[in-house]
Amino acid sequence: MDNLSLDIDTEEVQLPRCGNCDHPIHQGSRFCNHCGHALGKIAEESTEEKWNAIRQTALFFAIHAVACCLFSFIDYFKTFSWSIVVDVFLALVSVIFFAINWSRLKGVLIWHNFSALRLFGYCCIAIGGSLVVNFIVGWINRSLFNTDFSYYQFYASHRHSVALAVFFVAVMPALFEELGYRGFLLGKLMLVTDAKQAIFISSFVFAIMHRSIISLFWLIPFALLLGHIRVKENTLWYGICMHFCFNFTAVMLEIIQVRHPI
């Protein structure tokens, strides 16, 4: 009899307890079977919190969309100086939105369980993906549109063109797009819906923000991969490194093509 008593006590200690009456609750319960108190996220304030999260993400999206569209479609802004202003402005927007939610999101800035092998693997995937995408996109641009788009050409006339191109094409987007989209946006959307749906929404928004229909075919899978890794590893750093490797490979290919045309 003493043994049975001990068994039950141990089992009850391990079970979660009701926040209202401290009675042990069985796994999967939505209400306390002793006092009827609603458990988990059923409470009213959770819907209010979700709606606030949606409003914040909508504001973040709207600011990014307006800034990107202004830079792309107004000739006045299509200068090198304005491109730096827009890049810095968007970086600041990402930092501010992340900082507003600092207490909730700061955990993703910690590099949990760092593994050099895993980092190497992720970077190899990003470099391989970038090579494949650049080859296919280049071929599509040349054969269908008879043109060859290059980010590097934007910086080519400047004295430190390589450094500028690497900084503004590879370093800045890797840091601040990851902070904005996988840090703030994905983090807030995970409050609203489950991780899979949050990853999809943030990836879709990230992809459409690049304003190219054809690019959606590779941007969505790439963003899905980054989102998945961010959730799986619970850190932004693997994604930042992957994003950097992807963009760095693309810009280096462009530099090589411009300097040593075939």
Binding site: R30, A65, F200
Partner: protein
């Protein structure tokens, strides 16, 4: 002593959600029904449940309206693409404009279909794409803000109500122990 320490193996069924409940449970762990409550308490609970079910029906209707709005946008995008193509058939970029409109229409239709499975994610995704297209058009030609303004207000209204309704439906489903 024995009866206190030995966990009860007998089970009841909740009158509200039909979930299994132990004999000594005061409330249903699935829906919160007062198993040991007075008749009055049980009646009040069931009345509240009916009220929540009505609210859930209304929320689901709003969500459906938002998914239909995505189909309307898909249709409008396709029609406007065809009109632009018809008006400027010989233009150098008319084919490309039509192709882009067809692809955007297909994306809206696909998101609308996805809404039936994942309403909240579907509406947010569709609303983001719609907002980006409206901003893009407005930046390239500010006059487009006013064109079809009533349609735009209707669509945006459907999306906002749809997102709120999807959140409400999710909450009510949890409260009613559905899904």
């Amino acid at each position: 002593m024995d009866t206190q320490l030995t966990p009860s193996t007998e089970t009841n069924y909740c009158q509200s959600c039909s979930a299994q409940a132990a004999v000594d449970d005061q409330f249903c762990a699935g829906c919160g029904y007062p198993l040991k409550g007075t008749e009055e308490e049980q009646k009040t609970f069931l009345m509240n449940k009916s009220y929540k079910e009505l609210n859930l029906d209304e929320a689901i209707r709003q969500v459906k309206r938002a998914s239909y709005a995505l189909y309307y946008v898909a249709g409008a995008t396709l029609v406007s693409g065809l009109i632009l193509y018809g008006l400027n058939k010989d233009g150098s970029q008319s084919g490309a404009v039509l192709l882009i409109n067809v692809m955007i229409a297909a994306i809206f239709a696909a998101i609308g279909f996805w809404c039936t499975r994942k309403p909240l994610a579907g509406i947010i995704t569709g609303a983001s794409l719609y907002a980006l297209i409206v901003i893009l058009n407005a930046v390239s030609n500010p006059l487009t803000i006013m064109s079809g303004i009533i349609f735009k207000i209707f669509i945006v209204g459907c999306f906002i109500r749809g997102i709120k309704a999807a959140l409400e439906a999710e909450k009510l489903k949890k409260e009613l122990n559905i899904g």
